[in-house]
Symmetry: C2
Subunit: 333 residues, 2 copies
């Protein structure tokens, strides 16, 4: 018997059960009595939210990410740890890798440590098949789960993500306004945010009556040198492009190197746009225009959602933050 | 009464006490009896090492680093977490910042969580005043402490570091062999490894009868754009340099940009060497020669030392790993 069962049996939301457990005065008396009746009836021990209140709590949040050596992830883990500590919570860190089976094992391990809540950091936790995320929904029956940069529905699941779709939509429009027609799109993964980014690119093209072409949407492994080779290969295949929109800063670096190899001027002959506004963008010459996916803001918001739900406060279950477009030297719009 | 007191009272090393606690057969019977007698006499509860054996253990290691968003640190935390998990240990992460008072508070907090051991990741935990590290030595009276990329003596303290001194010594010699005489040295901190690096640079100069000049040893804040300005300022002050040895890859990136600004050829007019072999080195044109400080190797070794001591095995208290010099395009030696 867990909080999920209580909410179902009582016919109220998990948030309402939580508020009853926390003695909130925002619950109607009749609802409160109904919830308490179900609890009595089922001998429910309110461990999940009681933990959050410091009763029987380890005051520990489990952070799961695929790979903390990834720069974006490392930033998010940093902000999460700092914020959680400010709220008096410890951080138990686990790196799950990218394989579904290992993600499942890692989350199970975290739950076995009796963490008060789980923070998933990476859009790669959003799988293509909904059923493949049942292990996350199952976890959310035990403790609140927040996802940084992913979108997933379910009871007791909280998502903080940035609006990647509108960011690529906006820059693609700007490139079209400039007169670009052959915009190459480079990406490394069909992750949740990967798909958002690609959709924004396609939508801006379609809106202008341009059919997105498969040859211009290229999957590349995450390596500067490999992406540089790929650009030369495309060139040899006669795929002409006048701009590069990249879902990673690494590929934008490769595009700068490719332009040098070919004697192309940037942004005269080639516009280049990266993603994540990492420190790589400052290393190239010219420096990269890059989409800032707001890692600090979305992480802080995800932590706040967890803290709110653990203290029985009302909270949104999804928060979307717009990206910033950081204009430097590889574009002129 | 802790393991440190037992070892002192019995007149044996902490490792010996640990071996007695773990029933190792490598301890002479007389020594064993002496240790057990002291334990009986003082009513000692062997919590520290018993924890490592799974008796009463949380099987959790506390990782403390100043800032996990730093790329080098993020890599080290990643390898540490993966290795600890392979040994069946969880990772409790805390980011202490760089201020001594906050370091002390953070370590105290970790110990209060009853971790089995502590892993300090950063040479910045090595303070200039020995007394300022007493808080680490005090922690080591309770649990084993390992330091990644730092050198600190004390009972129950284990250090895994790379040989920064010989790395800068070697590249400085190579620059001198090439005929360079005005080698600029850029650094960002007087951390333990920072001082090692600088010493290697100075030693190679002195060996050739060249007195290191203060004007050529420049402290810079960790910013690509700021270091680029600093190089132009040095130039205006008439400080002529024919090569740049940098304790950070970021400054080497700045040096590449400075050379472009001034129309200098690399490495014809200016050799440039970075540090850490980060992905920044691949972004510049030409790509950076950089000293690889072996983050994976030294982290894995630090974890191994902790695992050995927790299981009562004999272990070195200090392990030094040589750096690799990764030669790319900004040097020609």
């Amino acid at each position: 018997m867990n909080i999920y069962d209580i909410s179902r049996k009582a016919g109220v939301s998990i948030a309402t059960v939580s508020r009853v457990l926390n003695g909130s005065d925002k619950v109607r008396e009749a609802t409160k009595q109904k919830v308490l009746a179900v609890m009595n009836e089922t001998d429910y021990t309110p461990n999940v939210f009681a933990r959050g209140m410091g009763l029987n709590s380890m005051r520990t949040i489990g952070i799961m990410c695929p790979d903390v050596s990834d720069a974006y992830t490392a930033n998010s883990v940093y902000y999460a740890e700092q914020n959680l500590r400010a709220f008096g919570y410890d951080t138990l860190l686990i790196c799950s890798g990218y394989e579904l089976e290992n993600k499942k094992k890692s989350l199970k391990l975290l739950l076995s440590k009796r963490v008060d809540a789980v923070l998933l950091i990476s859009s790669s936790y959003i799988e293509h098949k909904t059923a493949d995320m049942d292990y996350i929904r199952d976890a959310a029956k035990e403790v609140p789960v927040a996802v940084v940069n992913g979108y997933l529905t379910g009871d007791n699941i909280y998502c903080s993500y940035c609006d990647d779709y509108h960011a690529t939509y906006e820059v693609t429009r700007a490139l079209l306004d400039k007169g670009r027609r052959n915009i190459l799109y480079l990406y490394r993964a069909y992750s949740y945010s990967g798909i958002q980014k690609m959709s924004g690119y396609k939508a801006a093209l379609e809106e202008r009556g341009i059919q997105p072409r498969d040859a211009y949407i290229v999957l590349v492994e995450n390596s500067i040198s490999r992406a540089r080779e790929v650009l030369h290969e495309l060139d040899k295949q006669g795929i002409v492009f006048d701009s590069v929109l990249s879902a990673e800063d690494t590929f934008a670096v490769s595009a700068v190197k490719y332009a040098k190899d070919r004697g192309l001027s940037i942004p005269g002959d080639l516009d280049i746009i990266g993603y994540n506004n990492s420190n790589l963008g400052e290393c190239t010459e010219p420096e990269l225009t890059s989409i800032d996916s707001r890692v600090k803001t979305i992480t802080v918001l995800a932590v706040k959602m967890l803290m709110d739900v653990l203290s029985g406060k009302q909270t949104e279950s999804r928060v979307c933050t717009p990206c910033n477009i950081v204009k430097r030297e590889t574009t002129d719009f």
